[in-house]
Structures are given as C-alpha cells and as structure tokens.
C-alpha cells in the first residue's frame, strides 16, 4: 500500500526519503457487538438441534 512517489521524470529523487522500515502491528479492534437477534436464534437452534 505504501509507495514512495516514483521519480518518473528523474528529477524528483525522493526514494532516499522513503519512510524507514520498522513495522509495528496494529490489530483491528472490535467495535460492534454481534447482532443479538442472530446470536439468540443461533443459541436456540443449537439447543433444539437433533442430538
């Protein structure tokens, strides 16, 4: 995703100023609760499922 601006015309010479590479993980956070209705029906179905 990251791209240093390419020096297409040979004048920009920006490659030397690319960001230094030292990655850090950034896990995606949980913001939304699972839909209650879906979870409720899933529980009911499990309970009444054929054993």
């Amino acid at each position: 995703m990251t791209r240093v601006l390419e020096a297409g015309n040979g004048r920009l010479e920006l490659d030397g100023f690319a960001l230094p590479v030292a990655p850090m993980a950034m896990p995606e956070q949980v913001l939304e609760r699972p839909r209650v209705r879906t979870a409720f029906f899933a529980t009911i179905l499990k309970r009444f499922a054929w054993k």
Binding site: M1, L5, E13, L14, F17, M26, Q29, L31
Partner: protein, 601 residues
C-alpha cells in the same frame, strides 16, 4: 477520581435542573389557554434543547471555578530524554507551499530550541490530485534542500487513501512505528513551538500510563470578520471551556485528531479501526475517528488527557460560513456514526456519554427547528378556548403570560451568553484580559462576538439541520479537502449556497403571520437572520484582517504577541511564494494559484 465523579454528577444535575426549570416555565406560558398535546411536544423539545445548552454552560462553569486563575506561563524547561518522536503531517490535496512552510517553521523551531535530534518529520500524503502531488514533490525537494540537513525528513504518498486520515496514520505505524516512542499527530495547517513539543514528550515520559496528550490549538491567520470572530472565540473562551473539560475528563479525555502526542505502542495496540458493517453514511470508514481512538485507548486502560496549559499549539480555521458548514457536514456525518460505536463492548461509561454528546451536538439543531415548527403550528392545532369553564358564571379569558415568555427567553439566552460574560469577569480578576487589549476591549469584543454569533447561529442551524437530514436519508458527504485559504465569498456564491436558508426564513415568517401572529416578534430573532443569509455570509467573509486588527476588533494574543513559530512560518511562506519558481512544470505564482479544495466544490 472522586472529585471528578462529584463534578460530573453536579454538572449533569445542573443540566437536569435547568431543563426542569425551563420546562416548568414553559408549562406556565403554554398553559395560559389550556395544555394540549402539541404543548407537551413543545415542552419536551425545549427541555431537551435547554439541557444541551446547559451542558455547554456546565463546561464553562467548571472551567471558571478551576484553579489557579491563570496557568503558569513560564517557559517550558528542556529536560533530557532518550525518546524518539515522529512528527506526522498528513496532507490531502492541500497547497504544498503553505503546508511545507509550516513544517519548515517547526524544524527551525526545533533547531533553535536544541531538540532537532529528538524529532523526525514525516509528511504523509494522501493527495489524490496529480497536479497537487507534483507540487508536493517539488516543494518537498525544496524543503529538504533548505532544512533536510538539520533533521530527518520523510515524505511518502499512498496509492490509495484507504481509511482516510486514520488509515494514513495507521499505515505509518505499520511501516515505521517501531522506531518511535511517540507520534506527534498534526494537521496540514498545524503549527507547534518546539518547546511545547519537548514538554509534551517530557509529560509522556513522566507518566507511563499516559497514552495520548491533547493540546488546545489556538486559531491563527484568520483574515475575515468570521475568521477573526472564531480566532477570538478559541483564544479567549476556549481555554476556559477546555479547563472545564479537563476537570471532567478523568482518564477518558478527548482527542481532536491533531496537535496531540500519542504513545506509539498504546495507539498501535488500541486504535486499529475496522470498517463498520454496511454502507456510508453510518457504515464504512469511521469519519470522526479521533473520538473513537480516544475511547479505545481508555478502554485498554491508557490515560487520555487534554492539558489546557500547553500553549504554543496552533491551527487555522475556515474564514467563511460556507467552508465552516462544509467542514461541519463531514463532522456531522462522523458524529452521527458514533451511534454505531457507542455500544461497542468494554467502553468506559464516560466514553459512551462523550459519544452521546457528539451526536447531540448535531441533533440539537433539528430539535430547535422542530420546536419552532411546533410553536407555529400550535395555535392552529389547539381548539377554541373554553371561555365559560363554569356554566352561568362570568367568562374567563386566556392570560397572555408575556412575563413568563421573557423569563424563558432570558434563561435560555443566559445559558449561552452568561458563561462568556463571566469569562470577561474572571479575566478582569486574573489579569488575563491584558493580552486581549484590557477588560473594556475584551468586553466590547465579547459583545461583538455574541452579536455576530446571534446573527449567524440561525443560519448555521439550517446548515446543520440539512446535514442531519442528509445523513439520515443515506447521503454520504464524502471527504472534501479543506480549503483553509479560501477567503471572501461573493454575493452570488453566498446566494447559491444559502438561497434555501433565505427561503426557509421567509416561509417561516409567512406561516407565523398566518397561524401564530403572537410569535412573530420572537421568531424574527431566528427567521430574520435567515432571510438575510446570503448577505450575512458575504459580509462576514470580507477579508479585512488589517483593518479589523487596526481597530482592535477581536484582538487576541495572536495579534499582540505572535508566537515565534507563527512568525517563522509567515517568513518562509512569503519568501517561497515571492520566488514564484517553476514547480515540476506547474507554475507557482500567487498564493491563490493552487486551490485544490476549489476543485472539489
């Protein structure tokens, strides 16, 4: 924490008390000809709107009562640190000459303060316009030639601007975050003194639980009447409101998206934002990501704090109502999106309450509009009064309680105006008014600001109502670039943007004459400015900063004691623009040559 809880409870009780008082006054006024269902609707709407106004006043009262009267203004001391900080400047189609002059001034500031080796500067471009991108490349090279020896300076442009600004910062962390203890997140128009930057690092070093430290940026470079009114407002009132906010924040303070420092590890661990399920405006990327990030940091046990004493932090603001409304449209969509986030698992109750406030900040306008509509409709919806409640006795005529109406109006306006007048009183006691031309000048400018706000607020009310309606009807406002240098608005531009506000004002008055003539005089306060919306927008946008400054209108410390970093930036910008050199095949001539935001209009 106990004191904070007590303050919070008292503040909420104050709002409820004010809402109750106004509701009881309204019951007295509306019941002069008997209470009916439409009156109940009006009373509920008025009480809800008053509670919201009172909440703003509660922030002010907490700030007014906070000690010391004046924050310590001694210069920040330089303390040794091993921490490395990246100063992030996300850009998106802004004028690069202008933006990079801000970076240049901050680099100069770090050099002269002796902290250049502590800060690396990274310009993170999300620019989509190729012409602007070429300009960025050109001016980055220029910036590097002049200032690159003194500091580490980076530039990168993303191919896709996934996740907007939050995605841009996230991309930096995923690429380079492990190198830095802290990230100082700025906006393209931000400026900060090196001493403030170093002090923020010191405070982060001193409190290992501190995840984010926010400053209160003051507005600089306002040119129009509208812009200078905002500059005065943020310079004179906002420190008190922010002190109030700081008294109530506990560990779950605010993040305003820029002019703040974050602990990289905390931010990376807590603030990876997912896309919300569904389509915009309520689904998709989170627009008002800053408040969500603050809530997520607090959820993970990190402290988020605003320190109002951190001066030396600046930003620029819109210079006319139209640009203000454009920015407000984006904020409105982002804040209403918080309705999806406020139920997220594990959030602190105060964070949820903050989300509620963010939603209310925009829903309040439609509530006022509905109250006005209900008041116009009320006389027609009511039945004929019963003049003979007891058969055979004398007729009883409805009493018109003008005294109650006046008390109601004074009470509601008092919540808006009262805190501002008390800030003048406090400034007189503490001596803070000296930086604003003395107490009489500060009072005069406060009254001028109140008058201009009273005229423009009904127009903003309509823009906000429209924004809320658009969001609720599923319209995505997108992510327009901010044109911070857009100056005056011509009358024809103002007419094109606000004729519908004018029409609404006319229709409101027409209906009022027809159906509720007793309310016409009250409604003139709201509908009157709306009728003249194009004219007011046009006049308030006049670029007259020199004349206004000469006349000490909206005088602030930005005029009397400009900060060195602001002066440095002005000098660099004047020099660069004066050169008018060819930039990557695109001529750079006058400041107005590149107006990328204009392309998005």
């Amino acid at each position: 924490m106990m004191v904070t809880t007590i303050r919070r409870v008292l503040s909420i009780l104050f709002c409820l008390l004010m809402a109750g008082l106004v509701a009881s006054l309204a019951v007295g006024y509306f019941s002069s000809d008997g209470i009916q269902w439409i009156d109940a609707v009006r009373i509920v709407l008025l009480a809800a709107s008053t509670a919201w106004l009172a909440w703003g006043a509660a922030y002010a009262f907490n700030g007014l009562l906070s000690l010391p009267l004046e924050p310590d203004e001694r210069p920040f001391e330089l303390v040794a640190t091993n921490a490395r900080t990246a100063v992030l400047v996300p850009v998106y189609n802004e004028d690069p000459v202008k933006t990079f002059s801000h970076v240049a001034a901050m680099i100069e500031s770090t050099v002269s303060f002796g902290v250049a080796e502590r800060f690396d500067f990274a310009i993170l471009s999300d620019t989509r316009d190729e012409q602007v991108a070429e300009q960025e490349a050109h001016w980055f090279r220029r910036l590097r030639q002049e200032f690159g020896v003194q500091t580490n300076l980076y530039y990168r442009r993303r191919e896709m601007n996934t996740g907007k600004k939050a995605g841009n910062v996230g991309d930096f962390i995923r690429t380079s975050g492990a190198l830095y203890d802290y990230l100082l997140i700025l906006d393209a128009d931000s400026l900060m003194e090196a001493s403030t930057m170093a002090e923020m690092v010191r405070r982060m070093d001193n409190d290992p639980k501190l995840g984010l430290l926010q400053t209160l940026p003051k507005i600089v470079h306002a040119r129009s009447f509208f812009g200078r009114a905002m500059q005065f407002s943020t310079g004179y009132y906002s420190p008190i409101y922010t002190r109030g906010l700081a008294e109530l924040q506990g560990n779950a303070g605010p993040f305003w998206g820029h002019n703040a420092i974050v602990r990289t590890r905390a931010f990376a661990q807590s603030c990876g934002l997912p896309e919300l399920a569904g389509k915009p405006p309520f689904g998709g990327h989170i627009l008002s990501h800053d408040y969500v990030e603050a809530a997520l940091l607090a959820r993970n046990g990190w402290t988020v704090r605003v320190d109002p004493d951190l001066n030396g932090s600046f930003e620029e603001g819109p210079d006319n109502v139209i640009d203000f409304a454009k920015r407000d449209r984006r904020w409105c969509q982002g804040n209403l999106q918080h309705s999806r986030v406020m139920v997220a698992p594990g959030l602190k109750p105060w964070s949820r309450f903050v989300f509620l406030q963010n939603i209310m900040a925009y829903v309040a306008s439609p509530l006022w509009a509905l109250f006005i509509l209900a008041s116009i409709a009320a006389p027609s919806l009511k039945g004929v009064p019963d003049y003979f409640p007891e058969p055979g006795s004398f007729p009883v005529f409805p009493r018109v309680e003008q005294g109650l109406a006046l008390t109601l109006l004074v009470g509601v306006f008092g919540l808006l105006i009262g805190p501002k007048l008390l800030i003048v009183v406090r400034g007189a006691i503490s001596g803070a008014n000296a930086r604003f031309g003395g107490t009489w000048r500060a009072l005069l400018n406060t009254l001028t600001e109140i008058l201009s706000t009273s005229l423009l607020a009904p127009i903003m009310l309509m823009f906000q109502c429209r924004a809320v309606l658009e969001v609720f009807s599923g319209m995505d406002g997108g992510w327009p670039a901010t044109d911070r240098e857009a100056g005056s608005v011509s009358l024809s531009e103002a007419w094109a943007a606000s004729w519908w506000v004018s029409a609404t004002g006319f229709v409101t008055l027409g209906f009022a004459f027809q159906f509720a003539p007793e309310y016409v005089s009250w409604l003139l306060l709201v509908a009157g400015p709306q009728v003249f919306a194009p004219l007011l927008i046009h006049i308030s946008s006049w670029s007259a900063s020199g004349r206004l400054k000469d006349a000490d209108i909206f005088l602030t410390s930005a005029d009397t004691h400009p900060s060195p970093v602001v002066l440095r930036q002005e000098a660099v910008l004047t020099r660069w623009r004066g050169e008018g050199k060819d930039a990557g095949g695109v001529a750079v001539e006058a400041p107005g040559n590149l107006t990328p935001a204009g392309l998005d209009r």
